[in-house]
Symmetry: C2
């Protein structure tokens, strides 16, 4: 069961305010979803995630399939119970990770044969198998198994790949055992070709999914090209269904995606740069590891009201980073996620108050993002 | 300023209930003090420490002196402000760490020349220097600079070392600039020789310190020998001052120490085994990393009311350990510290209710500790 309610459309852009209802709670859109690859948003507890008002988190099918494995997840009664997360979860199809394995995988019409990045053990992922795994994991929103087309392939490859993704989407729909409790999204592919994106979007809409994802746009392509692909995809998706831009979540892309009608985002950037010692702030990304912060006794962000900024200084966090203390990753992860979720809340508020474009200009200016 | 109030003495053992008052709050004794080597109890926030009711934590002078360095600590306004911990802190003298450096240090009557374990840079620590550093760090309880006598030295070495420790204690007292806000403890040494321990204790008591530490008993000696040394030390310490057994905190040693009149303990065991994937439970220490727990969906300890045991299973935590997830260290650290602090609370309650010996027998039986 999944319901999308369109609450308000922006007048100047395609931004929209909405609410997704699932059996495990409501999700205010546009939303950012923290990534919990292996059943944990790295270094965060569920309480942390609730405190920062995360409404939905991601799990990665490929990773969970290998560890702890489906026997354990099934015995636990699904991922929610395994990690004790009571709110919505979204899983990907495993496709992106499997395709990222490069020489370790082989793609056929049937599916993808691959070797585990952990121990080289051989596995086979097909549309049916991906859905079977996702049915066991039990996420509230699941993804159809697609071929994540690389950014630089030629038109012919992109077309064939997109057509296979459509056939796979059909097979996923057919294989899905729990449509009443898990909403299956179709994924728009088509490389960097406008017409393929349009065709794919239209074909998927004909299949009538409860939501639509846009894939293949976090594969290293220039951002203006990503925005152009969105311009040629979103208009062909129905207004009464949520739209999820997969794997994209840099701050500028969040605003640009929202402006183009995207409702859902996820990204590992926030948590990854945290573990590398960097913080997102309203005046730009800062490498707190740098010596310049060694005696900076101000918070990561002067205007942030997260517990990290309310309690700790850059100098202290830099010290923790330099000493390889776990707490450094933890504090920076909390702040970066809180900061991003707060921006999404601000964006929703701005749309509600007819000032999204103004907020975007203002944010970009302070953050130091050039206008596009 | 430090005041020790003796609230109750056990009838069957030397256990005692007390209260230490410092400018930054009260400490119920007997107490366990989590170790925050580098200005962080590894993976824990201050909020975590408050939630688990930690009343006082440790900082390590040697480590803080090297990182972030005294210039940063001084600029921050002391360690409390640097790490934003509002409750009491205790610092060691740096002696133990410096002596552990082995070939990297040279001891003379004046002090200890040593090379940093980080970059080989040369430093000199003397009683005066240690106190100067501890005055900058600003802990509520500080330690005199001692030579931590190894466990196996001959009588002559132990005697000379203990006598130097006494002369250093005098120098520390003299060098101490903030006796009104920081309580300086003398440290009893004397190797594994009863008469040296007695002599050292008596001599320190004549110097009249606000509290007494017992050092050199976490250096690998057999536990019965440690307990024998306590039997020949504690009786010579005044009843109206707190007694701190340095670096000791295994669960059996906590009970045995309390039974011999010890008020304060610290140990890295709880946090170190957590990072190695082990949990303290009422039925013994468990290696959660082991395959036997892969489908064990019960909490770390059935009777523990910490948030980890209330929310997560051994199977989930084992999965996190196997995936090298930061959250594993965090959950196990919280549980191990909570569990230990809870035991100390139970011990205090038992002393108050005249049933400490019974509680000890009961705990040892369940935990699987043989009677000594």
């Amino acid at each position: 069961m999944l319901n999308y309610q369109l609450l308000k459309e922006d007048q100047k852009t395609s931004a929209r305010l909405g609410k997704i209802t699932t059996l495990r709670g409501e999700i205010d859109t546009p939303i950012f979803m923290p990534v919990g690859t292996l059943g944990t948003v790295k270094s965060m507890t569920n309480q942390d995630l609730e405190k920062m008002k995360a409404q939905i988190i991601l799990g990665n099918t490929y990773h969970l399939y290998l560890r702890p494995g489906m026997d354990i997840i099934a015995q636990a009664g699904g991922l929610h119970k395994f990690m004790n997360w009571k709110h919505p979860i979204l899983t990907d199809s495993g496709g992106f990770q499997v395709f990222s394995l490069g020489p370790l995988r082989k793609i056929t019409e049937e599916g993808v044969a691959f070797s585990s990045h952990l121990d080289g053990s051989k596995h086979f992922l097909s549309p049916e198998k991906s859905i079977e795994i996702q049915n066991i994991i039990g996420a509230d929103i699941i993804m159809s198994f697609d071929e994540c087309t690389p950014g630089q392939v030629d038109y012919e490859y992109a077309k064939k790949s997109m057509e296979m993704t459509l056939r796979w989407a059909e097979r996923c729909k057919k294989a899905h055992q729990k449509p009443d409790t898990q909403a299956l999204f179709g994924i728009v592919q088509g490389g960097m070709y406008e017409d393929l994106r349009q065709t794919c979007a239209k074909s998927l809409v004909e299949m009538d999914f409860p939501g639509y994802s846009i894939g293949g746009l976090s594969v290293g392509e220039p951002k203006p090209l990503m925005y152009r692909m969105l311009d040629h995809t979103v208009p062909f998706l129905p207004k009464n269904k949520p739209r999820y831009l997969m794997g994209v979540g840099s701050l500028d892309a969040l605003f640009e995606g929202v402006a183009r009608g995207i409702d859902m985002f996820d990204c590992v950037l926030q948590t990854r740069i945290a573990r590398n010692g960097s913080a997102l702030t309203s005046t730009g990304q800062k490498t707190i590891r740098n010596a310049t912060y060694k005696d900076d006794f101000s918070p990561l962000d002067e205007n942030c009201d997260c517990f990290v900024c309310q309690n700790h200084t850059k100098a202290y966090i830099r010290h923790l980073i330099k000493c390889n203390e776990i707490l450094a990753a933890r504090l920076l992860t909390y702040h970066n996620l809180y900061f991003t979720l707060k921006i999404m809340e601000n964006i929703r508020q701005a749309i509600a108050e007819n000032r999204f474009s103004e907020y975007k200009v203002d944010f970009f200016q302070k953050y130091g993002i050039k206008k596009d």
